[in-house]
């Protein structure tokens, strides 16, 4: 069996100072700039990556941010030309990269389907036969003649997904595209991708989610700062990646300790408010502690804990006896009476309060 994708010694170099090269003036300045300085701005997004994929291989590309995952997809899709090494592909390619981009904003969905299809290399009759299917899948039946510029980003992504997946490709390139649209559409698009797996399609899939890669892929590779760190069966690669992304145990212990402390603090605060309720009920309603706790739905096993908290509050804030409570209640009632007598004169009310 011949490989559908053959990457050998692929290297991708980017010049970070490229942007300064945009005008003639900068060009001439750069001509005289010291060569070493230019070299410093070079950045190798990929170095010496080699692997082969055969029909039926579904490769998950794993790696941290900036590992070169998207770069490798674009190099295989032919968007980037390799700086060193070669990329060989065989068969029809369906690149699902940056789905919402590349549309003509003034064009309607209908016109964009033909234009976009043409760019992807579809033939006119093919688009004619698939047109309704694309619109239906993208759920845009009511917006066929609306210019794309009035679409939401979700609608654009859906349309992009529908057009790109209208073919039965030999090579399918997925750059985290399974996170398009709402939950319903996500499920639909994952089903669609899964249905394309039947047969001999070769898949390249980039994701941060190991679970998703496990679900979809049978092979995997790990990229680390542009280097190919591991390549092989998903079951061999997954533990390596798990280990790679695992934090060191000290960090985890520290984080768990903080979380535990927060939980305890919260629990204590909650108990305190309940304990205050108990005190209020026993004072005002002539209930025993047990009756109050039962009324508050506290399980019997926790009675002792709450009694301790009640005692703690009474110790720290002074015991509020029944007589004191009644006195306080009487004072409150008197204040209400005064307000009732002179409801409009607020000044009197405040002076009355301060006299007390």
């Amino acid at each position: 069996m011949k490989p559908t994708v053959e990457v050998s010694h692929l290297g991708m170099k980017f010049n970070l100072s490229q942007e300064m090269h945009d005008t003639l003036k900068d060009y001439f300045i750069n001509l005289f700039r010291h060569h070493d300085k230019m070299k410093k701005d070079e950045f190798w997004a990929l170095t010496d990556v080699s692997f082969k994929l055969y029909p039926g291989d579904r490769l998950g590309i794993l790696g941290l941010n900036g590992a070169g995952k998207s770069t490798i997809l674009k190099a295989i899709a032919g968007v980037y030309h390799p700086t060193t090494g070669t990329v060989k592909r065989k068969g029809k390619l369906a690149p699902l990269l940056e789905l919402g981009a590349g549309f003509e904003p003034q064009y309607s969905a209908r016109e964009n389907i033909y234009l976009y299809g043409a760019i992807l290399g579809y033939k006119k009759d093919f688009i004619d036969t698939k047109f309704d299917e694309i619109i239906r899948f993208a759920e845009l039946e009511d917006f066929i003649e609306v210019p794309i510029k009035n679409y939401s980003s979700g609608m654009k992504s859906r349309l992009g997904f529908a057009i790109c997946t209208a073919v039965n490709p030999d090579i399918l390139i997925l750059d985290e595209v399974l996170s398009v649209g709402d939950k319903k559409f996500r499920r639909k698009s994952e089903d669609k991708i899964m249905s394309m797996f039947d047969g001999n399609v070769t898949v390249l899939f980039v994701s941060h989610s190991l679970d998703q890669v496990r679900r979809i892929c049978n092979k995997a590779m790990i990229l680390d700062h542009g280097h190919l760190k591991a390549f092989g069966d998903i079951n061999d690669i997954a533990p390596i990646y798990e280990q790679m992304t695992q934090e060191d145990p000290e960090e985890i212990a520290k984080r768990e300790k903080i979380a535990h402390e927060n939980r305890v603090k919260k629990l204590r605060a909650a108990r305190k408010t309940k304990a205050r309720d108990i005190i209020r009920m026993t004072n005002n309603l002539n209930l025993t502690d047990e009756q109050a706790m039962a009324a508050l739905d506290i399980p019997e096993s926790k009675y002792q804990i709450y009694l301790d908290v009640v005692k703690e509050i009474e110790d720290s804030e002074g015991v509020l006896t029944k007589e004191q409570a009644m006195k306080q209640a009487a004072a409150e009632e008197a204040a209400i009476d005064r307000n009732a007598t002179f409801p409009s004169e607020e000044e009197q009310e405040t002076t009355g309060d301060s006299d007390d």
Partner: protein
């Protein structure tokens, strides 16, 4: 070479879609649409004839309208085609970043859609020639090579500009200035007899656009302009095309890094 022709054949649907897009978007949302490609040159020619006819005392000569129309139509296509082509790569950055497509298709499609609009606008020459009381002569056959030479020249220059523009954004402004110089060196709205004896007349003959306009006028008004004027723009255009396509092929892999 065979590979490229096959590649071109594979992408003919895309090319036609890109050309269609250019024409559609140009006249989108205007009530008269493509009819403007007829009305606009007609109206501007009327203005030019009145202004420069009065200035150069040519209002009594009915052929002056044809004279101006030939120059104006030719130069307008050259101007729109090259300007459009120079912005083509950057204008299609969104597509270039997603899918590999031979990059020359973008400037080429830009020139071609302007060419189609140009061909349509040639229809206005019929009423203008009737007004000028000119009858078609055997020299009329010369219209076909002059249009073809113009297309080749515009594709070549457009291709070179589109490559340069990716690396140097200055080209857009620089080209506007150059276009103005080319316009004044093309004798579009002044009668050529006025400067025929001038010692800088050779500058006009170096300008391929002027030579094409002369060919075109000769065909319409009915006189032969000589082999030199007829062959120079073709050679110039072919050389530009070779430079343009080679430069495109050599640099197109780096385009993405500059977009």
């Amino acid at each position: 070479m065979k590979k490229y022709i096959k590649g071109f054949y594979d992408y003919r649907f895309l090319l036609s879609e890109l050309v269609k897009r250019g024409i559609r978007l140009k006249y989108r949302k205007s009530y008269l649409g493509i009819v403007w490609s007829l009305i606009e040159p007609l109206m501007t020619t009327v203005v030019l004839v009145v202004v420069f006819g009065a200035l150069f005392d040519r209002l009594s000569d009915p052929t002056f309208a044809t004279y101006i129309m030939c120059g104006r139509l030719t130069f307008t296509f050259f101007q729109n085609g090259t300007k459009g082509a120079s912005k083509a790569i950057r204008g299609n950055a969104g597509m270039i970043k997603k899918v590999y497509v031979p990059k020359y298709l973008y400037p080429l499609s830009n020139v071609l859609y302007n060419f189609i609009i140009y061909l349509i606008s040639l229809v206005v020459l019929v009423p203008v020639m009737i007004y000028s009381r000119l009858l078609p002569t055997g020299h009329m056959i010369n219209v076909i090579p002059s249009i073809l030479w113009l297309l080749i020249l515009t594709i070549g220059v457009g291709m070179i500009l589109s490559v340069l523009d990716v690396f140097f954004r200055d080209i857009e402004y620089l080209w506007n200035v150059l276009l103005m110089i080319i316009m004044y060196l093309s004798a579009i709205f002044y009668p050529i007899e006025r400067i025929q004896k001038h010692h800088l007349m050779w500058l006009l003959h170096l300008n391929p656009v002027y030579c094409i306009i002369e060919m075109f006028r000769g065909a319409m008004i009915g006189h032969w302009v000589g082999w030199k004027v007829c062959s120079y723009p073709l050679i110039f255009g072919v050389v530009c095309c070779i430079i343009g396509f080679v430069a495109m092929k050599k640099t197109q892999d780096q385009f993405i890094l500059h977009l």
